[in-house]
């Protein structure tokens, strides 16, 4: 680890705050991360100096804003190792990115007799779009179960693919509930072996902020990114795709900027990625994204990962050792990221969340948009503490104290 968390925290305004006289301990970065000052500055630069619409303006501030918007595309392509900037479509969040694939690929290409394979640990964003499409065009939905070790069951996966009918695989890179880092290389290779034409979509929402990611190396067809979880602003996401996939797909959202020509009789679509960016895009947000990528690269994603791996090890160990606490997720830190779900004996997650809030500790409670996984775990809700680069071991004590306090409070 080559950065100093205490110094780093100074860049995050929200973390400077106190709640009832206590330091705010933010353990909900899996829901949304904090945003460093320089990302806000980048957006201000747009609003204060280059506030104009992009694409096709002939005056300077519009030209400059356009150049910066496109530079953000290249920057993100570089940051995640996209095959090409032409394979980067900006969306409003990763949910829209998945819907783009559901409408422009899945609904067009799959039908009765085909199967789409997903997993039991998906966020709704990487499940409901396929479910909805399946309802409408009638393909089969299959789901890879998880093992007792909270990992994907690869043997079961192999069986689910055995008939060669799996034409589409949708899998998360990292689970937002369990923290599990999935063995994508193996899984994708397995799927391509069962069906060389399989199209693979990876939900990168919980990976890009936390791990060095190399999309081209994964050889997936689509990869989803959401910016508000990676030190960037709200309102922006991206679909990373193989450019040849995009170029072959019909548009999804239609309107301005995504056409070449329009008449009552005929519309000519623009090329990818513009074909998929209808209307005025999130411009200031793209400025913010560029600054966020710079920020993360300065720290070094390998360092971010090393820091989190060490930290999640400490947290998981301490939570597992704490009385009455059950952790849902891998124990080996090398196999997991910083989202730690757990239950506290005798304390409903909502009560736990409220108690912790009294200690200035922000955690998430509920189903985490992963209802199918909750069913598998046999719970209605879990508590989840999630870590990021600005967290440190001094965030552990407030969490443990709050849990202990809640236990004794409700057991009294």
């Amino acid at each position: 680890m080559s950065f100093d968390v205490a110094t780093l925290r100074k860049e995050f305004p929200t973390l400077q705050q106190e709640v009832d006289g206590r330091r705010l301990v933010y353990l909900d970065s899996a829901a949304s991360s904090q945003t460093p000052r320089r990302v806000l500055d980048a957006m201000d630069e747009y609003y204060e100096h280059l506030r104009a619409n992009v694409e096709r303006g002939v005056y300077r501030i519009s030209e400059q804003a356009t150049a910066r918007y496109e530079r953000a595309r290249t920057r993100l392509a570089d940051f995640v190792g996209a095959p090409s900037p032409d394979g980067v479509v900006f969306t409003k969040n990763v949910t829209e990115a998945m819907n783009l694939v559901a409408y422009s690929w899945v609904r067009r290409q799959l039908g009765p007799g085909d199967a789409l394979l997903t997993t039991e640990m998906e966020h709704h964003a990487n499940f409901v779009p396929w479910w909805h499409a399946a309802q409408e065009v009638g393909f089969e939905l299959r789901s890879i179960p998880i093992t007792d070790a909270f990992e994907l069951d690869l043997d079961a996966a192999r069986e689910l693919m055995a008939d060669g009918n799996v034409r589409f695989l949708a899998v998360t890179h990292v689970s937002n509930v369990l923290g599990t880092i999935n063995p994508l290389e193996d899984l994708i290779a397995m799927a391509r072996e069962a069906n060389p034409e399989v199209v693979v979509t990876v939900d990168g929402a919980q990976a890009v902020p936390h791990l060095p990611v190399d999309v081209a190396g994964l050889d997936c067809d689509f990869y989803g990114v959401t910016v508000h979880k990676m030190c960037g602003p709200t309102g922006l996401g991206a679909l990373i795709a193989k450019p040849e996939q995009l170029e072959a797909m019909p548009p999804f959202l239609t309107g301005g900027s995504m056409i070449l020509d329009v008449s009552l009789d005929q519309v000519t679509w623009n090329h990818a990625p513009h074909r998929f960016e209808a209307g005025t895009p999130p411009i200031a947000e793209a400025f913010g994204l560029e600054a966020a990528c710079d920020f993360l690269d300065e720290l070094g994603m390998a360092n971010v990962r090393a820091h989190e791996e060490a930290l999640v090890g400490t947290f998981v160990e301490a939570l597992t050792a704490a009385e009455g606490v059950t952790v849902y997720g891998p124990t080996d830190p090398s196999k997991r990221s910083g989202a730690i779900s757990f239950a506290v004996d005798g304390v409903h997650p909502h009560d736990l969340g409220a108690m912790l809030d009294g200690y200035g500790v922000c955690i998430r409670v509920g189903h985490h948009c992963a209802k199918p996984l909750m069913r598998t775990l046999g719970v209605n809700a879990t508590a989840r503490a999630s870590l990021y680069l600005y967290n440190d071991t001094d965030d552990l004590a407030p969490l443990l104290d709050g849990i202990a306090e809640a236990r004794s409070f409700f057991a009294r």
Binding site: D20, H348, H350, D351, G366, M374, V379, N380, F410, R412
Partner: protein, 155 residues
């Protein structure tokens, strides 16, 4: 806003030793199921109505946080023996209290008063309301002549 405002001793007592918590009710007239999938809360509420149109008994069962369980428990006591219309009015008084208004029927609400502080915790308001809204639904279901109803909340 401190935790003590939310978790009053009366509330904790109801949570630890709920009243009228039962999975069945003999000769039940109406059974409603209310759930808030977003919280994972589930509540089964059963009522039995007397020949004179008063609530003979109300029992609940289910899963949820301390506030939802305790509030349902306190509710079953406050409404037992009331005329249906009166129980509906009391439920409305509680609902308004949860939205920050002064309750007009302090005595009738009985332990329900302890939940006044919950109004300052917006996300918990729906927890405190769960039992009361299930009651209202049960009475309305009864008045429609039906015997069962199921409601899913969106938050």
């Amino acid at each position: 806003m401190s935790m003590e405002d939310l978790y009053q001793e009366i509330i904790l007592d109801h949570y630890r030793k709920p009243h009228n918590r039962a999975p069945t009710l003999d000769d039940e007239d109406v059974h409603v199921h209310h759930s808030n999938p977003l919280c994972g809360d589930e509540m089964d509420l059963r009522i039995r109505v007397d020949d004179d149109g008063t609530l003979d008994q109300v029992v609940f069962d289910g899963e949820g946080c301390s506030i939802s369980q305790a509030s349902a428990s306190a509710m079953t006591i406050a409404v037992a023996g009331r005329e249906l219309k009166d129980a509906l009015e009391l439920a409305e008084d509680f609902r308004l209290m949860m939205h920050g208004e002064e309750p007009t029927r302090l005595d009738d609400l009985q332990d329900g008063i302890a939940f006044q502080g919950v109004a300052r915790f917006p996300v918990r308001v729906k927890c405190a309301l769960l039992g009361w809204m299930a009651l209202r639904d049960a009475i309305e279901t009864y008045e429609r002549g039906a015997s069962a109803h199921s409601v899913t909340y969106d938050d």
